[in-house]
Symmetry: C2
Subunit: 397 residues, 2 copies
């Protein structure tokens, strides 16, 4: 017998992926422009021109032995120094290069962090709806993911539910703000309250509860008044898992970082655990060409206005058609209330109108469907009548 758990993980296709494959088949049958695929969270905006320019310049000016050679496991020191300085200038932290560990993207940031922190039986709390791989990553690291429901109607943290989920086994809490799939951004007062609660229970149980902030969507926030608080300013035992996948539209290139708050007393142990976990998982170093790229474009983002316009257009239309939906502050998802009890049935009915949207059940939250609006504005225009018909089909039943 080989490892049955991993065999099952490899055999089960996610329903997002199933839907995407269905969409490809359906497009072949009735035409690309007749199918409205809102299933996948793949950036639709190209990487900014600076990315191509910087890569070409790097290729033409760097010594190839250095450029394509191993960096230290943590990443090239000079790259980490630039990122630490940038984070400090944005968030008034006092990070050094040695607080950063460059990774092969957000998933690697999370698996490395979880493997550094967890012992068998430890628990990680997160808030439903959540990115489903959190469960896979936590279990592989020997832990158990505890999903806690959020405030009805706002998708913000329900502190009573959170408090009753914390136990002596709680090793950490993962937040994801802006959130996939709800688009919610936690306001500062929620982060302050979260920090107070974690401090209280860390003291009660005599062991720190780590706050892991999964931030692939940090830069995708559309309104000036919305701020994404930086967790290190509120809580010493905090770790930021960052990725350039969405901000620079580089999801396939696998580049991101872990930043460990140097204000935590256990900093050296936690950072060493991250180095050890990266080694045990087989990461070696983040792709060097992309490390050097990030050193040059660390403060650039793709054209986020496309997502903002998509959000505004789609949100207004869906509300107009009678859908229940909380206006998302960021990321590129709308989480729409199902018009019948089963979100799976709702999404099946949407298919009759060639709309491909994902049941919230996959994100640990029944009764909703995720609409990914990282798509072309033209497709949104073409899809609006279909959304209207879907809504009408429930009113006329």
């Amino acid at each position: 017998m080989i490892n049955e758990k991993n065999v099952r993980l490899g055999e089960v296709r996610s329903s997002i992926r199933e839907l995407f494959e269905y969409g490809k088949k359906r497009k072949a049958e009735i035409g690309d422009d007749k199918v409205f695929d809102f299933s996948i969270g793949n950036p639709s905006v190209p990487a900014p021109a600076e990315v191509r320019e910087a890569i070409v310049e790097i290729l033409q000016t760097y010594d190839p032995v250095q450029l394509h050679g191993y960096t230290s496991a943590q990443g090239d020191y000079s790259v980490r120094q630039v990122l630490a300085d940038y984070i400090n200038s944005r968030f008034s932290t006092k990070l050094t290069a040695d607080c950063l560990y460059l990774t092969c993207g957000a998933a690697a940031s999370l698996t490395i962090t979880l493997n550094a922190l967890l012992n068998a039986g430890d628990e990680i709390i997160t808030f439903a709806p959540f990115f489903p791989e959190y469960g896979v990553f936590t279990e592989h690291a020997g832990g158990k993911l505890i999903a806690v429901g959020v405030e009805e109607g706002t998708f913000r943290i329900d502190f009573d539910k959170l408090e009753s989920a914390i136990t002596a086994h709680t090793k950490g809490v993962i937040i994801n703000s802006p959130n996939n799939p709800s688009g919610v951004v936690y306001p500062e007062k929620d982060i302050i309250r979260l920090a107070e609660l974690l401090k209280k229970y860390s003291e009660k149980y005599g062991e720190p509860i780590y706050l892991i902030s999964d931030e692939p969507y940090r830069e995708l926030v559309f309104d000036k008044e919305v701020k994404v608080p930086y967790v290190m300013n509120y809580y010493p035992h905090s770790i930021v898992c960052y990725s350039y996948s969405k901000s620079l539209s580089l999801p396939g290139e696998r580049i991101g970082y872990i930043a460990v708050n140097n204000e935590m007393p256990q900093f050296s142990k936690v950072y060493a655990g991250i180095c050890g976990a990266g080694r045990a998982l087989g990461f070696v170093c983040a792709p060097n060409l992309f490390q050097q790229l990030i050193k040059k474009v660390y403060n650039v983002t793709s054209d986020i206005s496309v997502y903002k316009n998509n959000r505004d257009r789609l949100y207004a239309a869906l509300v107009d058609y009678g859908f229940g939906v909380v206006k998302p502050d960021g990321a590129f998802y709308l989480f729409v209330k199902s018009m019948e009890e089963s979100a799976a049935a709702f999404c099946e009915r949407a298919k009759e109108y060639e709309l491909l949207i994902v049941p919230g059940d996959d994100f640990g939250c029944n009764g909703y469907a995720r609409v990914s609006y990282c798509v072309s504005p033209e497709m949104i225009e073409r899809a609006l009548p279909a959304f209207k018909k879907l809504s009408e089909s429930y009113r006329n039943k």
Copy 2:
């Protein structure tokens, strides 16, 4: 308490890395050209010109959304198809695109394969001397690495020792040919005998014993008469872990693949296990730009003749100076017999002549030292008098 095992892994610097850091310090003290650093296995030959040309062409002609987007977890289908065709043309296999799984390099190939195969308590056999991370990777996957000694004087498999190490817990055998650190290539007759033995014990215990061939050095073979047998031609339960780190001098870019032999009856389960393990470890997909690069330069290598010339010059000189050394067929390492019982003491004495070489103890093999000759030919010339003096220091004692 966080995960102490990973903390320790992160805190312990490998002695190779220690030596490398010592070398940097020493160079600052006495000058770059006075220190002879043979410690690190980092390719010294630049990536071939085709690499830069292909990357620039890809950047200028591909749609950036596609180019930098996610591929399927297994890797872009068209890339896998090209690689399957190439492997089939070289080794007369009948692989399909779906036998390949693109990875972030050799370490990822190994950790994914081991996590796919191993259950807690399973054993993996390898042959000492071996790449020390095999132990780290196997343990993280829940298994135990059993290091079996090799034939004295040749570094080839000692089949009696191997046979006595196989138990009902043996899940697989890792071979690494050309070998780091001995440079030995296993001849065909050894692979045939190995396959027979594994078949016999697979039948005895009623479970396949998998043969994992770790092949980062496959292309680094210097003599026409030396062939590296392709394990799939000899044994159905075989898995090849390949990397472009050394063949294309891209170690920092993390690109390689796993090829699963489709002649094994459990093929679908093993491949699914690999997909599941890749997911659980957080790999998502191999860097897409480098996937597309490999599609264009799959049959190109760096200028291997530099390593051949280094080997010839250094081997001849060391033999002349009285060192005991088996002529390496491939890779870029010489494994030199220590001139005193403790290889650590031998390497310490080498430092007195500014020679940085690594004790074989790190590779599970006492009494030897590794000399990495992926260095400039000029440094070898400058270093030869130091090697001569090191040898003389033992004769004159």
